[in-house]
Subunit: 423 residues, 2 copies
């Protein structure tokens, strides 16, 4: 028998308890052992819950309980969760966590602490999609050339609805909140940080890189307008919030931002709250993983798969794929190379285009395609254009110069363009 | 150091040797050990090869060599491969194989023989896609409600080209042979047996079912015509060769056949030689896995991932997910339930439709949609129709009755229809 204690019995924790009961027979047949939840830790003992397990308000009662073999950490947050998980490891208990923020900040300390104690975290990235296992074990023969992932369902839901013309950003966000697809405080999702945490976890497994959220470029989906989807459609793109990792020699770019991606790519076809991750290996080529990235049951599916892994006797892969950071010899790149899309509102009069072209030329940027559209306001026009691949610092210089031009009636809006093979 | 012997140094074996060399640094960083190929067994020592390793013509020299830790079986075929792998296990050597035919026939004997010796076979299903690991470990909390997979690149290439109107079956098959996408003797692929072998392996992992290729319905892609793609398009379907597993209570349908599948489904969008597998779990919902299903490098990626798994210290999951057949309590269903598409060439005169409708009615089959098209020949018409869900035995009875009708100018042609949620 394997005895489990759960710290944090919210939506996911309740699903874990319920599914361990509902699918008891097949889980026992697969695990080779009975799996029993013996205790849960919660903040509020009075709250009505759908599951009936002994509860405590002290998480350390779980981590120190000699009758518990596996501590499942589902409380979220960083510092208290770190202390809880650390205590579990110190008491030689296996750990399963779904906590991406904890791992975004403390994954290497935790690997160091865990040593040979099983520490699994499949649910921390893309919910029910077994992407940790795929990357850490299934693709281990490969240099990972690129990861491009839709890892935040809230953003993908909003962008899908905007693309279909079903409302503007604020209207759809409000609707998503009512449907439970977005939090009351949506900043963590729509500003890109949730997707960044997940990218950092995958970047450790693919490249051995120990970066923190503050170290990488993170941009959310605010500011995107209907017009941007028109340009995207015209030129064969979709707009997605992508978590991107790209290897160039021994450096890796890590970034999260709205992205124009070719509509023929499989991940461009992923709609609504679903997640999908494209991984390009130097040996295998492209593989794609699709599924639900959030929700109690999907997350519980991943959590329980890890409990079963441990009950079966564990997995000998290092927790993060490499035993030490930078063991793969790759480091975080300070330079970003990309193609760019720009939306500008300009005065509709002769000579403006030449001025803009000159600014791009002076910054080593070459224009790939352009679309001019009449604006609602008289004497104004929208100028939508895409560039060939150039340096981020050059586009930033050009944007900065453009902002000070009188003929620009709004700050220019920029979205990066991702092309398969453009790495 | 981990010492590998390879039995069968063809396209995949050469890729394995080359990639272990090319990606030596990162593979060693991930595996924690150096991996060295020390010997290969081949049929013909004189053949020119791109790799330089010591060779023998005796596979048992590899399986009995005390200096070899892992035997990689890439020779293909069933009986000799079985003896080779058995000998390796008897000599306590870990085994990695890409041989789907071997596993389609002998997987449970091999699991029994292997016991605690690592036996891995990620490359045997869908080449470079880590679907074995996903199903055996990543989705282990789930009852698997359905698996629907494009597992044969040759068939998907031919069907994709036919759908695009780039030729008829025979023309495209010849072209595929010239491009190396189809074998000189293509029967194994286009008659569905390759896809069936892979389905049987997955069915063991998902359901613990020990079926042989002879036990299940296997139909290939011959007989499909341009008109079928027209009907498919008209009603929002694609035509794919699918390997299908469907759970109903404690019974599982296993079948391989051309299938009409809703074009909005992600696996319907998979084109050319690529593979893709949709797995529906009762907890997680649908997850999809996409990638290259064949080719030296993609297959080598999976083979090497298994070598790394073993070098890392192995994986404690039972080889086939369950320790014994039928441990999951599920057995092979003898009944098939499906929707059906039928193409008929009939005399274009009054009363025919009523006669056909009567035959269907008498066999408990209800018609969902119908399309009548003028045939090139005068006084003949094409009748294309789809049914609601019914029993395979009822449709077979109706087909048999139809065949004896004088107004039918060809044997009716049938394709099964797969609807998401129709299980």
């Amino acid at each position: 028998m394997v005895r489990v204690g759960i710290v944090g019995v919210g939506t996911v924790g309740e699903s874990v308890v319920k599914i361990l009961k509902k699918n008891k027979d097949i889980i026992q047949a697969r695990a080779g052992k009975e799996i029993v939840v013996v205790k849960g830790a919660v903040r509020d003992l009075e709250k009505t819950r759908e599951v009936d397990i002994p509860l405590t308000t002290d998480p350390f009662e779980i981590t120190q309980d000699p009758n518990i073999d596996i501590v499942v950490e589902l409380m979220g947050g960083v510092e208290l969760a770190y202390r809880v998980v650390k205590s579990a490891l110190e008491n030689k208990k296996a750990v399963v966590t779904a906590n991406k923020a904890l791992l975004a900040y403390h994954r290497y300390e935790l690997q160091q602490l865990a040593q040979d104690i099983p520490f699994e975290f499949e649910a921390s990235v893309a919910g029910g999609i077994p992407i940790i296992k795929a990357l850490r074990e299934g693709l281990s023969a490969n240099h990972i050339l690129a990861i491009r992932g839709i890892m935040n369902g809230t953003c993908n839901y909003i962008l899908t609805k905007m693309e279909r013309g079903e409302g503007d950003f604020n209207t759809i966000l409000k609707e998503a909140q009512e449907l439970g697809y977005a939090e009351a405080d949506p900043a963590f999702d729509i500003d890109g940080y949730d997707a960044a945490h997940k990218l950092l976890i995958l970047a450790s497994i693919a490249y051995g890189i120990d970066a923190k959220p503050e170290d990488i470029l993170v941009e959310g989906i605010k500011g995107i307008e209907a017009l941007d989807f028109e340009f995207a459609k015209e030129f064969g793109y979709k707009i997605k919030l992508l978590s991107i990792a790209k290897k160039r020699e021994d450096e890796v770019e890590l970034r999260v931002h709205p992205t124009l991606i070719r509509e023929k790519e499989l991940i461009a076809k992923i709609e609504g709250v679903m997640n999908g991750i494209s991984v390009i290996g130097d040996v295998v080529g492209e593989t794609v993983y699709y599924g639900p990235g959030a929700g109690g049951d999907a997350t519980a599916s991943a959590v329980i798969s890890n409990i079963i892994d441990i009950a079966r006797g564990g997995n000998c892969s290092p927790m993060l794929g490499f035993k030490k950071p930078l063991e793969a010899g790759m480091k975080l790149s300070q330079e970003i190379l990309s193609k760019y899309y720009l939306r500008m509102v300009v005065e509709d009069k002769p000579g403006i285009l030449a001025k803009i072209a000159t600014i791009f030329g002076e910054n080593n940027i070459s224009i790939e395609s352009m679309l001019q559209k009449a604006a609602k306001e008289e004497k104004l026009a929208y100028l939508l254009l895409s560039t060939h691949c150039c340096k981020e610092e050059d586009i930033q210089k050009a944007l900065s110069t453009l902002k000070s031009q009188q003929f620009l009636k709004q700050n220019p809006f920029m979205i990066r363009i991702e092309e398969y093979g453009n790495y």
